[in-house]
């Protein structure tokens, strides 16, 4: 049992070795991981390699191979073999099977048998070897073996290999697979017509009776050419019966082709939404800290426009087809679906890469539901929700929303402010809506910058033409030079600090001023 011991020890060593794991992960990223960054480049490289090798093989049909072409073919062979072995290797972990079998035998107190583990490994690897893609991979290596000419046929498998490297082609295959039953029916029908047609033409137009058909194979060839409405005309019926058969075949051929077309088209139409959604999800996986906007109504559209202006990534989900179409027209990432469904939000990366959910539909019930679902998926995510009725605010907060926005209440507040002091209100609203050159901005004091430790008076904000509205500090800061402070969530707002107020790193200055003034302050702080 010395060998078994060694194997087990080696398996544990592999399991513990972080270097081995890193190496294997890198190989996995390169070959299989659909989300890795390097994979697209690898796929592109392989496609170019395969196409070049196919081209050279085709060139060799009429020419004697050049010296460098042989070398290149050998290189391709090496790469393909390495790729095959690599895939074989990363398909699963051999040492895990060994460890599993070993621990199982330990548990039931039986002597460890290498054979069982070996059998399991063989089974797992066989699943890989027998998978269609792996078979194609293996066959694609064949044409490099020159002595056997028939193996040249397998050059086609190199072309099939391209499937592996293009996601679109794989999707095409997946869509057609969905319509298996219909396609099978069609194929049966086609075979039936083909057999009937070729038998009939063989009977009536055989060369014995002065026709063009030399054998049954020619009959099949003629039937297929006629059926597909290609009709080369190299073989033509001369007898009356033969022409009758031809007419029937042409008519059924039109039927077969239109049936086939409609199957493919309808399959794609049904899958179009899904294909698009997959594409969107694929793009989302590469993003980080993006926002999920549920509902692309008026409010959703306004938010999307602003986020787009700021180059903040976001994705839209709406259950209304028209809204989704409108979002797509605006070139936004958009998915059709019900946001309140757990699966829909999950697919959009809530609970993973998404950092914020906005529930902005016009229906309060849906908004509450979205809030609940999002909170369930991710306890830390920020949720801002729209409340069309005042009553809903409480419910949204209970459901886990961080903020609730009431569009109608905002109108009320604005109307109220407006009645009292129209001029002041216009001014502040202009600042708040960002449609003036004067802005209210928060500027952070970087620790160690020239502002760190300075008094407000010496900060020179006046020279920059900025008005200091206040300073946001940690919640515990007290100062004799501030007459009023307000506690925000986890921060303290020091309103209108006196000239002797000392600024510290990480304080936020809230300043009013021209956009350029604020830019200049930011610039000065960076130096």
């Amino acid at each position: 049992m010395k060998l078994a011991d060694l194997v087990v020890r080696f398996a544990y060593w592999l399991e513990e070795s972080s270097r081995y794991r890193r190496f294997k992960q890198a190989a996995y990223d390169l070959l299989e991981n659909p989300h890795s960054r390097i994979r697209p480049y690898f796929d592109l490289f392989m496609m170019v390699l395969v196409l070049t090798s196919v081209f050279i093989l085709l060139y060799d049909v009429r020419h004697t191979p050049e010296h460098w072409a042989v070398k290149f073919e050998n290189l391709v062979l090496v790469v393909l073999v390495l790729e095959y072995l690599g895939r074989f290797w990363v398909y699963d972990d051999i040492h895990k099977h060994v460890i599993e079998a070993y621990e199982e035998s330990e548990l039931v107190d039986e002597p460890f048998r290498l054979r069982r583990a070996f059998y399991q490994i063989l089974q797992a690897k066989w699943t890989f070897v027998s998978s269609p893609m792996a078979v194609i991979d293996l066959l694609a290596i064949m044409p490099s073996y020159r002595p056997l000419r028939i193996l040249r046929l397998f050059v086609l498998f190199r072309l099939f290999k391209l499937f592996r490297y293009t996601q679109n082609l794989q999707e095409f295959g997946a869509v057609l697979r969905e319509k298996k039953a219909e396609l099978l029916t069609l194929l049966t029908f086609l075979l039936f017509i083909l057999v009937v047609g070729s038998s009939a033409i063989y009977l009536f137009e055989s060369s014995n009776y002065g026709g063009d058909i030399d054998g049954f194979f020619e009959g099949i060839y003629w039937a297929l050419v006629t059926l597909s409405t290609v009709g080369y005309g190299d073989i033509t019926p001369h007898s009356f019966e033969g022409r009758l058969v031809t007419m029937v075949l042409i008519l059924s051929g039109i039927g077969v082709i239109s049936f086939f077309t409609s199957i493919v088209v309808s399959a794609f139409q049904e899958k179009l939404g899904e294909v698009r959604e997959r594409q969107v999800c694929g793009r989302l996986q590469k993003l980080k800290d993006y926002t999920v906007i549920c509902g692309y109504g008026r409010v959703g559209a306004v938010v999307a426009d602003y986020l787009h202006r700021d180059r903040h990534p976001f994705v839209i989900i709406d259950e209304n087809e028209e809204a989704v179409a409108a979002a797509r027209r605006a070139n936004y990432l958009a998915v059709h679906g019900k946001a309140q469904r757990l699966g829909a939000l999950h697919r959009l990366g809530v609970g993973a890469n998404a950092c914020r959910v906005l529930a902005l539909t016009g229906d309060d019930v849906v908004n509450v539901y979205i809030t609940l679902t999002a909170r369930q998926l991710d306890s830390g995510i920020e949720i801002i929700s729209r409340a069309n009725h005042h009553r809903t605010v409480k419910k949204l907060e209970l459901a886990g929303a961080n903020h609730a926005i009431e569009p109608y209440k905002i109108v009320g507040l604005i109307a109220g402010e407006y009645i009292g002091q129209p001029v002041a209100f216009e001014a502040i609203q202009g600042i708040l809506m960002g449609d003036q050159e004067i802005d209210l901005e928060a500027v952070r004091v970087p620790p160690g910058s020239w502002l760190d430790g300075k008094r407000v008076e010496d900060a020179g904000l006046g020279d920059l033409r900025l008005i200091l509205f206040g300073v946001i500090t940690p919640p515990e800061r007290e100062s004799d030079h501030v007459r009023h402070h307000y506690d925000l969530t986890s921060r303290r707002f020091q309103f209108n600090p006196g000239p002797d107020f000392v600024l510290v790193g990480d304080d936020l200055l809230l300043v009013f001023g021209h956009r350029y003034s604020i830019l200049r302050l930011r610039h000065k702080l960076k130096l």
Partner: protein, 237 residues
């Protein structure tokens, strides 16, 4: 929408008169405890009888349909040329139409809500502060406009010489000079502004401080009796 506006105005102690045409909406509003009068909004006589040019200070047109609002605003504007009219719009296009129809101020609730959500995403600190200052949750800061009467101590002074922000606990945003239209001249404007009669100073601060400034500004001719100086005034340039 209209109920929300009415509630806000009533909370501020304003006198509100609500009118509507549609019996369903009348019922609904009455159930919510509002007093609503039934007035035919398409009948000029009935509208005039509300006292548009005498008793009404501001007219709100808050119907749910954009077309109805435009029609109502036009009618009111024809009846009362000087009355401030506030209206709401469902879409951006209607904003212009309502303004053309004669609305003094058009509020686009969705635009504003959308922008506020964006603020929360983009700069949460300012959004929270504004939430409290402008929309009044827990912070008693207010924006106020203080008109300058004839003979006030600020008359003829430069804005930056007054150092209002240290004498009073206030932040001065700027001045509206009635002679140059309604535009706010910001305090940061490089052109120094000399305050004169009928200007309006726009400030942010607590209610008491605003009151103190208002009192001092309206008190005429006694420059030495301005409120106590809290900290040494900022350097005047």
């Amino acid at each position: 929408m209209a109920q929300e506006v009415a509630r806000q105005l009533q909370n501020r102690g304003e006198l509100v008169r609500m009118i509507d045409l549609d019996p369903d909406r009348l019922d609904k509003a009455r159930q919510s405890g509002f007093q609503v009068e039934k007035v035919n909004l398409q009948d000029d006589e009935e509208l005039l009888s509300l006292g548009l040019d005498t008793e009404v200070d501001v007219f709100f047109s808050l119907l749910e349909n954009d077309a109805d609002n435009v029609f109502l605003v036009i009618s009111i504007r024809a009846l009362a040329p000087d009355l401030p009219i506030v209206s709401i719009s469902e879409s951006e296009d209607t904003v212009q139409r309502l303004t053309a129809a004669g609305a003094t101020k058009v509020i686009d609730p969705y635009q504003i809500s959308g922008y506020r959500i964006y603020e929360m995403v983009h700069r949460p600190v300012i959004a929270e502060l504004m939430d409290r200052a402008v929309f009044g949750k827990g912070v008693d800061l207010e924006i106020a406009e203080i008109p300058v009467p004839a003979g006030s101590f600020v008359d003829g002074q430069y804005l930056d010489q007054l150092s209002l922000s240290s004498r009073y606990n206030l932040v001065v945003l700027g001045v509206v000079d009635r002679d140059y239209g309604d535009q706010l001249i910001f305090a940061t404007n490089p052109k120094r502004h000399r305050i004169d009669v009928n200007d309006i100073i726009v400030v942010i601060g607590q209610e008491e401080e605003l009151e103190r400034l208002r009192r001092d500004v309206t008190r005429t001719g006694e420059q030495d009796r301005v409120g106590p100086v809290f900290t040494p005034p900022r350097r005047d340039r």
